[in-house]
């Protein structure tokens, strides 16, 4: 029951926000932040709990079944922290509606990551598009971007729904996530796999399905995109792990070469494209393409070490990309531009902002001692051990490129001579700092001691390692 409360709490709270006075920004933010905190607390206490109620019995069994899996529990915590930060960092017009959208977004993603039922998963997949779409339409500057985001992801969602239906018809139930895997058989399997895979690739995104992403990441208000880039982008990878590896391992293995190639192309493509972006948010957007490409490679290498690395990196990437986008949002609010050509010299006037961005950037470029490094190293070890030596080497090349484009981003904004033509408003307030501090602390703690993340049992995901099932 507590799990159901966890899923519904942000949605209900989001709806109730509209009872508040329209212009009471402080109340909206306080309530929003408290709700986000409450979801974190609830998630901690409901780690091993589940909620289940019958929903459909025909044409296949589908239940309202919620409960964290060993992987998704971490993503749910990440989601709570990211939403907390996003709500505190919100500084837009119509604050009340925006925070309500953030809460709806959190609720839909809680539903997605806590769903134990595939149909539920597919429905939440589509639900989580709506808040972002509305956010882009109302607070973004280009409606076309909103449509592009929606059409790409909704097309993926449609394929996911079809694949889910086919899955349900061939298995008889969709209440399968987190359960023991029975590999699917039958003539429909390639189509089911194709449906899932395309939906997951669009969401992550992976080259060449990524062109919605730089636009969306640049145009969405920073607090919302910090949650989207941090958590929503993990939905596809989570799907590959919990659905693909468990139910479709043979297809995953058969097409591993293709997906690893796509992952490597994303990795390098994102890295070189990041090098030349002048929009700060697009630098991070393309870096995300690069980083998530590596996780895709790690997943498809079917190696226990790589999988542990992938989980660490999923969490780490969520933390640092959320922190980066919040930081970039602060810069944009202050200086009214995101252009690396115009920005510069902010370090002198904004030491706290500089420090926060510095830690986020260092985590992003894989500095040892921060969480990204452990994930990167384990993924590369696993990828190499799985026999994809060339992929591991190209992954290392991307590490070098990452240091170049992230330093370019950081130094372009913070270092150099002070620009007299920039407004240079105040440094972070303590509330703004409070929004990023939990993310940075988590990066530091998991970087020094990633042990809690490494203890998860990879066996269910690698059952068919021997070839049989």
């Amino acid at each position: 029951m507590a799990v159901l409360v966890l899923v519904l709490l942000p949605a209900v709270a989001g709806a109730l926000l509209f009872l508040l006075p329209r212009d009471d920004v402080r109340a909206s933010k306080t309530i929003g932040a408290l709700v986000a905190l409450a979801t974190i607390v609830l998630a901690v206490f409901t780690r091993h709990q589940q909620f289940s109620a019958t929903w459909l019995t025909r044409p296949f069994v589908s239940n309202l079944h919620f409960g964290a899996t060993s992987i998704s529990w971490w993503i749910v915590l990440l989601l709570g922290i990211a939403t907390f930060g996003a709500i505190l960092a919100t500084n837009v017009s119509r604050t009340r509606s925006f925070i309500a959208l953030l809460l709806f977004l959190e609720a839909s993603m809680l539903g997605l990551f806590l769903a134990r039922d595939l149909l539920l998963f597919a429905l939440c997949w589509d639900l989580m598009l709506i808040p972002v779409f509305l956010g882009l339409i109302h607070w973004g500057s280009h409606p076309a971007t909103a449509w592009r985001y929606f059409i790409y992801n909704f097309a993926g969602g449609l394929l996911l729904l079809l694949a889910t239906a086919a899955f349900g018809l061939s298995v008889g139930t969709t209440d399968v996530i987190g359960g023991t895997g029975v590999a699917l058989v039958g003539p429909w399997v390639p189509w089911i796999f194709a449906g899932f895979a395309i939906a997951f690739l669009v969401k992550t995104p992976v080259w060449p399905l990524h062109t919605w992403m730089p636009l969306t990441y640049a145009d969405t208000p920073a607090p919302m995109i910090s949650v989207v880039a941090g958590v929503q982008s993990k939905a596809g990878l989570y799907g590959f792990i919990t659905i693909g590896m468990v139910f479709l391992p043979e297809m995953m293995r058969a097409y591993a070469g293709l997906f690893i190639t796509l992952g490597i192309i994303s990795l390098l493509y994102g890295a070189v494209a990041s090098l030349v972006q002048t929009d700060a948010k697009r630098v991070v957007a393309y870096s995300s393409l690069s980083h998530l490409g590596l996780i895709l490679v790690a997943i498809f290498s079917f190696n226990p070490i790589a999988l542990v690395g992938a989980l660490i990196y999923i969490v780490a990437h969520g933390l640092f990309s959320a922190a980066l986008f919040l930081g970039l949002g602060y810069v944009e609010e202050r200086e009214e531009t995101r252009s690396l050509v115009r920005l510069g010299g902010l370090g002198a006037a904004n030491p706290r902002l500089t420090g926060a961005l510095c830690i986020a950037v260092l985590a992003a470029l894989g500095l040892p001692g921060l969480a990204g490094f452990a994930g990167e190293l384990l993924m590369l070890i696993g990828i190499f051990a799985a026999g994809f030596a060339w992929a591991a080497i190209l992954g290392l090349v991307a590490v070098v490129l990452a240091s170049a484009y992230f330093l370019r981003l950081f130094q372009g904004m913070m270092n150099g001579p002070v620009r007299p033509d920039l407004p240079m408003r105040r440094d972070l307030t303590w509330i703004e700092a409070l929004a990023v501090v939990p993310l940075l602390l988590a990066l530091l703690v998991l970087g020094v001691n990633p042990h809690p993340l490494t203890t998860f049992n990879t066996a269910p995901y690698l059952q068919s390692s021997g070839g049989g099932r």
Partner: protein, 658 residues
């Protein structure tokens, strides 16, 4: 081959304290910088001093041998499954720890004076303490991952300190360059880790060294090449050396500590630490020895033609590390490590001495605008003189002993070409160091001479201070800067004597258990003769320098001579053999070009172009469907009837059989 178990396991509180104190200092300086203000410097120095004290206390456990285990091993925590992180203190890491904290403490104290009045005084000391912590992590780690952590963190500290004056574009660019090139090295070590783990399944030094034979010849070579990539990037070996001269953008104490005495020698430490691996591969030894020799020579050649006092010292650092890498590369581990020790002293002293001058001349760094400083700055004169004598290898001074050990080692290990390079480089070293010394201290002060009459075309690019210093009112340093330099003079002169006595020297006995399995065979030319040969070339170098810069006529015509030398400099030398341009064209421009290709053409034209095709086809289908949607009821009715007629016809003709 006998392998020692890595360290006696146990609980070593002093070792922990030695390691963690600087981290504590860094955190305190960061968090309470505004409150500490000027006390930050004294506090940070005291922290490093205490760390040094603990290192001395740890001497006993660091050199102990119990049942074949050498040194002290402190297990800390399990970092990742199978990767236990622990500290290892044996003679090798003890030497490094002592130098890092000892020289580090002196440089901290010196910095209090050098950075007096700086805007972010406490932040500077936070970075410095953080660097000490990172460097200690590097040398005290008992496994490759911990080493890599330290490796990357010293790179980070170096980045912060090179870019300490972050409003200067040149400092910012230099910091980024240093960081990225160092990441190339980190990545090399990462790949070595991947290879080692895939073959041996462990990353602790003890396990890896005990299972060298599991690697196989080809993999071992690959591992060593990757490790050397790391060492080359960190220790400024050709062709990854280009960041080091640029790194001189940092404050001078930083150059002394990080870019001369400690961090840049991490590559030497790595190779000495992995001696069991290197000794197992002749090919790798040849590669490393050759690159080291090449770097020594190249650094020395480029050192001859620099004008910025710090860049002269930077190239000389590069050259000296080339010696060390050559030494440890070909198997003369004791010699390489000894040269690290002596170089740490005399190079730190050179930088600190240069810092005294730069400080006094209000940030003037161009030697052409100095001159005649011997009388004005007698303390700096003596400090620089002892260090110059030491680096040149004058018998009796520290550099002489350690350099000869390496040069002799190359021949003993059968590398006559490297032997020749070593001797030749010694001569060049003596020349460019005395060139620096004569130009700076002899003749008359040229700070008030117009830069163009010295041949300086772009003063702002050449490290020339914007306002020239008044020769009569030099900004003299106080005791807080002079005392550390004075203390450093002692080991600069005398530390070489530790090496005196061949296999019975204190140095050899200190390392007898560490490198026991690696004893050098006798060489065809005796050690004594080697020293004589080297000394002859050194004298020749000094003589040439004297003739060019210090004879009475040269001193009188200094301005004209310097102008002629500046103008007549071949471009290939003033552009440092175009290494920068080549790396830039090969890697930087290429990846930027690919980036433009991806972001400007592939994304909007190819991929979105494909998507647009889908959009257009959909629109076309829509137009087709729209034609039927006339809005006229009777048209719909016709279609309906026609459709029904089709059905009926179908069943009438084909369906009748069913």
């Amino acid at each position: 081959m006998v392998h020692h178990v890595m360290g006696v396991p146990g609980f070593y509180p002093w070792l922990l304290a030695l390691w963690l104190l600087p981290l504590l200092g860094a955190i305190v300086c960061f968090a309470f910088g505004p409150q500490l203000r000027r006390v930050a410097g004294a506090f940070a120095s005291a922290i490093v001093g205490a760390s040094f004290l603990f290192a001395v206390i740890c001497w006993g456990v660091g050199t102990q041998t119990v049942g074949g285990a050498l040194g002290a091993h402190q297990v800390l925590f399990s970092w990742l499954p199978g990767f236990d992180f622990g500290l290892l203190l044996d003679p090798l890491s003890l030497v490094w720890a002592l130098v890092i904290t000892g020289v580090g403490c002196l440089i901290h104290i010196y910095s209090i004076g050098y950075l007096e009045g700086d805007r972010a005084f406490a932040r500077f000391f936070a970075y410095m303490n953080f660097f000490i912590f990172a460097m200690l992590t590097l040398v005290l780690s008992d496994n490759f991952v911990g080493l890599l952590v330290g490796w990357a963190l010293v790179g980070l500290a170096s980045y912060f300190l090179i870019g300490y004056w972050f409003d200067r574009p040149s400092a910012v660019a230099a910091a980024r360059k240093a960081f990225v090139i160092n990441v190339v090295g980190d990545v090399g070590i990462m790949f070595a880790i991947i290879l080692i783990y895939s073959r041996i399944g462990s990353l602790s030094f003890g396990d890896v060294f005990a299972n060298v034979d599991k690697l196989g010849t080809a993999t071992l070579l690959a591992v060593l090449v990757c490790l050397f990539l790391g060492a080359a990037a960190k220790s400024a070996q050709v062709p990854l050396h280009t960041w080091l001269p640029d790194a001189m953008e940092g404050p001078t104490p930083v150059s002394a500590l990080i870019h001369a005495a400690t961090m840049v020698t991490a590559g030497v430490y790595l190779i000495a630490r992995c001696a069991p691996l290197w000794s197992a591969s002749k090919d790798a030894q040849l590669l490393v020895g050759t690159i080291g020799g090449l770097t020594a020579l190249l650094g020395a050649v480029l050192g001859m033609v620099q004008w910025d006092i710090k860049r002269i010292l930077a190239y000389s650092t590069m050259s000296q590390i080339g010696y060390m890498i050559m030494g440890v590369g070909i198997g003369a581990y004791e010699g390489g490590v000894a040269h690290f020790l002596t170089q740490a002293f005399f190079k730190a002293q050179l930088f600190l001495g240069a810092g005294l001058i730069i400080h006094a001349l209000s940030n003037e760094q161009d030697v052409r605008r100095m001159g005649g400083l011997a009388k004005k700055m007698p303390f700096a004169f003596w400090a620089m003189l002892t260090a110059v004598l030491a680096i040149s290898g004058i018998p009796g001074f520290s550099g002489f002993f350690s350099k000869d050990l390496i040069i002799y080692g190359t021949l003993a290990n059968g590398h006559p070409w490297l032997y020749a390079v070593g001797i030749l480089t010694a001569g060049i070293t003596a020349y460019y160091m005395f060139r620096l010394f004569f130009i700076t201290f002899f003749g008359t002060y040229r700070g008030d001479v117009d830069p163009s009459s010295l041949g300086i075309r772009h003063p702002e690019l050449a490290g020339v201070a914007s306002a020239h210093a008044d020769a009569e009112h030099l900004h003299m340093s106080g005791w807080v800067m002079n005392v550390p330099v004075a203390i450093l003079m002692v080991p600069t002169v005398f530390s070489g004597w530790l090496l005196f006595g061949g296999t019975h020297s204190p140095w050899a006995r200190f390392f007898v258990s560490q490198f026991a399995q690696i004893r050098l065979p006798a060489a065809p030319i005796s050690e004594g003769l080697t020293s004589v040969l080297t000394f002859v070339l050194v004298l020749a170098g000094i003589t040439v320098a004297y003739l060019r810069y210090a004879t009475p006529s040269a001193q009188r015509n200094a301005v004209e001579r310097l102008r002629r030398e500046t103008v007549g400099m071949p471009p290939v030398l003033s552009n440092a053999f175009y290494f920068d341009a080549a790396l830039d064209a090969l890697f930087v421009r290429t990846s930027q070009w690919l980036g433009y290709l991806a972001a400007r053409y592939v994304d909007p034209l190819v991929i979105d172009g494909g998507v647009r095709e889908v959009v257009i086809s959909t629109q076309w289908l829509g137009a087709l469907a729209r034609a039927f949607q006339s809005g006229l009821v009777r048209a719909y009715a016709v279609l309906l009837v026609a459709g029904a007629a089709c059905f009926i016809a179908y069943y009438a003709l084909a369906g009748g059989a069913r």
